[in-house]
């Protein structure tokens, strides 16, 4: 059994880390799938280039928040083999904590008042 780290010590996450964890919490992804899913989720505002993506994946893996799954053949990519990534239990806990933190922020008076003043975006 690995030494378990305190999930709180990773909070706050960087936005891109949170996006990756949340996206992986639904299902395992290969790199391409991950960038596509994130682009959809953010309505195209976050486009991850390979260098940046794998820099973050490396960091998340080093922290034990994600892990490498096996290579699989992907039908829609001309049946090429791709490596899949999956979230760890620690990663899920950290993502949940981060979501809680963001929810608290969104529920704060300041944000509510801001929304009321400017109306729905």
């Amino acid at each position: 059994m690995m030494k378990t780290a305190n999930p709180r010590s990773f909070i706050p996450l960087r936005p891109v880390e949170f996006l990756i964890l949340v996206t992986l919490s639904e299902q395992e992804h290969h790199g391409y799938g991950l960038t596509q899913a994130i682009a959809v989720r953010t309505e195209g505002s976050v486009k991850l280039e390979p260098g940046n993506l794998y820099k973050v994946l490396k960091r998340l893996a080093a922290d034990g928040l994600i892990e490498n799954a096996e290579h699989r053949v992907v039908a829609e990519l001309d049946n090429e083999r791709r490596r899949y990534y999956r979230i760890t239990t620690l990663g899920e806990r950290v993502a949940a904590l981060e979501a809680e933190r963001l929810r608290a922020l969104l529920d704060s008076d300041a944000v509510l008042a801001l929304a009321k003043r400017l109306g729905p975006a």
């Binding site: 290969h30 391409y32 390979p50 940046n52 820099k55 490396k58 490596r83």
Partner: protein
Amino acid sequence: MTRRRTSLSERVYGALLRLFPPDFQRGYGTDMRDLFRDHLRDARARAGLRGVTALWIRTIPDLFFTGFHEHEDEMLHAIVQDARYAARILRKNPVFALVAILVVALGTGAVSTIFSVANAVVLRPLPGVPDAGDVVSLQRVRRDGGGSRSASYPYAAYLTEHAKTAQVAAWEMIPLTLSTGDGGLLAQSNLVTANYFDVLGVRPLLGRLFTTAEAGIGAPSRVIVIGAGLWQREFHGDSAVIGRDLRVNGQHFTVIGVAPPSFNGMFPIVRTDAWVPMNTQPLVRRGGDLLRSVGSGWLELVARVNPGASRRAVATELSSLTKQFSAANETGPSADIGQFSTVQVARATGLPMDAATPVLAFFGVLLVVSGLVLLIASVNVASMLLARAVARRREIAVRIALGAGRRRLVRQLLTESVLLFSAGGAVGLMLSFYLTRLMTRIELPVDVALAIDPTPDARVLMVTLGVALVTGVVFGLAPALQGSRGDVASTLRGDTSASARSRSRLRNVLVGAQVAASLMLLATSGLFVRALARGHSVDPGYDISHTATALVDVGVAGYDTTRSKAFYTALTERLRAYPGVTQVAYTRVVPLSMNNMGYDVAIPGHSDRDGNSTTNLVAGGYFELFRLPIIEGRALLESDDERQPKVAVVSEGFVKRFFPGASGVGRQFKLDSSTTVTVVGVTRDVKFAKLDEQSGAMLYLPIAQHWRTDVNVLVKTTGDEHTLAGPIRAEMHALDPMLPPPVVVTLERSAGVALLPQRFAVGVTAALGLAGLLLATIGLYGVLSFSTAQRTREIGVRMALGAAASDVVRLVVGEGMRVVGIGMAVGLVLALVGSRALAPFLFGVNPLDAVTYAATATILGGAAMVACLLPARRAAATDPMLAIRQD
């Protein structure tokens, strides 16, 4: 077709992946290439070639930034790892680490202290002036570059109005008497043009500074800006000071603003207490209305180079403006201004332009000297590291055997030395904080309040750290390369002789370098000692003992000629009545104070005009007071006043120069092309301004015929001249309680100003020389002890074969002294070449002074001998039987 383009993009991408650290490539290279291929396919499907181009535009920065980031991470990781290991190793040898750190601290401390002082005096950009790099000093010189001339107000105003490449302002230092009602206070002030603060970009701390409201030379604007220091000292930082009435030289002025504490004028080492606008000149400064006089040069010029302009462009434009101005004003008393038509532009250093270069040279010499100490210290530590590398060769051989690469080992050993030097640099910096604090306590024999703050600033910090790091790498490299050159097999076998020879050669080079540096250091120190001794023993040609002097200017308190003459007559009578006082006199310039004044002298029928013959205005018993003999004719008398024909006493040198082969008495000359003066007496030649000057043509004029309200009162006593301050101040106060109490100094102390650079240099170089000698001696001793200890077995064998103890001593000492001798020879050659740079500071002591070098060599040789003898005698006491059985 499409297949080829795709594969080209992919191939390029694959090549670019080498930007990443190998670990990253191994872990994610394939995945990244795959993902890129996926993106490429999308891009091509979406927008063809344009899409591919867009993808590449996104991809290149992504690769470079993340690649760089990953490298940084990896390097940082490695550095931290190395540093941790190095710190652990050093902790295991605390004595070694401590000694090395202290030795480095001594060297870096020396450099950083000297640099701090140089920084405070001349290097630091003007404090309180934003973008000080654009601020320049201006100076008018002759076409041949010789001689300079201060600016008149009309000239300064002409430049200000017409210059396109720079904004020009003018200023002058003047003393002002300030009072709020009860008693006066002497304030070192600046008279400045209304645009002065704007040009410098200074903003007020409180109130406002001068604006166009104070511009022009019509009615005086009776306003004053005070410095933050004066505001704290005299007004306790009360903001109600704005709008307050202040008497300036007896006139009512209004305080309109307080300058920020960081700003201290253009010569920031001299304290500036207050600023008044130029149009108040007739009220606050002697010399009548100077604002309309084209012929009087009295202002300093400062300019801010406009954006886009270069200094060269400014110099060109101002020079041509100067020529135009001279052409338009080439009549009357200002006839000579046409000669000064070249404008020199130089970075505003905070010193007068002609002083900046010698001061820089002086600090350059001291920096080199402190650098020598650092060199010795660094070499010392390098020797220690080298010796340790020998002691650690087993550890290193084991690491090599276990597969550590040489690069990795060198990096590790370098990290250790850099760590040592950084720690030493930090301690050295602390040392310099302490030393500069000590320095500010030294009271300088000058009559102005100084504001030198040599506390190390960020620039000193950077330099010290940089110096420590560079020396750490440079002096750690050789031992690291040596140390990592492990001959694994022989070392592990215990055979030590394999690489010993190249190590001992390196050790000898290091010892030789220390000896050479020490010799240079001691020689420099010795030359300054000789210069100081020479300075003390130089006979200026007159007697300055038992004399005190006080600078008095009743002009600043609003006295006119008649009132001021009466004041000085009364003061003289009162002071002469004091018991012990034998003589009272006045002089415009105090001898040996490095000050000088010059008049233009022209002899009818003599083509040689002397534009700068040394002149002094004197009165009272000046010649008796200084025991200056009158060789011919008579001295100046108190009856030589403005009603009598103009007369002068001249020196023998003056007679020799202008009336060769004849008697001087009765001859006439023109002063400033207007006044005809008759010589009534001849006195002997003296050294007037400085001790190292050549005695030359010297001219004494009666002050009553060339009246100035600012004079130095000279009082000679039979008793202790230090007690004269009380009576002088008391009598002045009795005559006019509104006059500020003058600064009173003894003449011997004032003359000490001339020796100040030498005294400072002797103090610094002697301390550094001693430190260097000590370090070098200890280094020599350490290295010799180490190498004899390494040779114990060999010495044992020699003794067993019949060598006597004296033979062993001779062997060891001979070997040590051979290295010392070579080091001394190298040092001597370098010192003889380098000492030329010292010549301007030596009072004529020959930089190749044989006595100095003989003494230096003797001291160094003696110390080296002791350092060699100790290990030699220990070696001679070796028990051969024990030594042979060792290991």
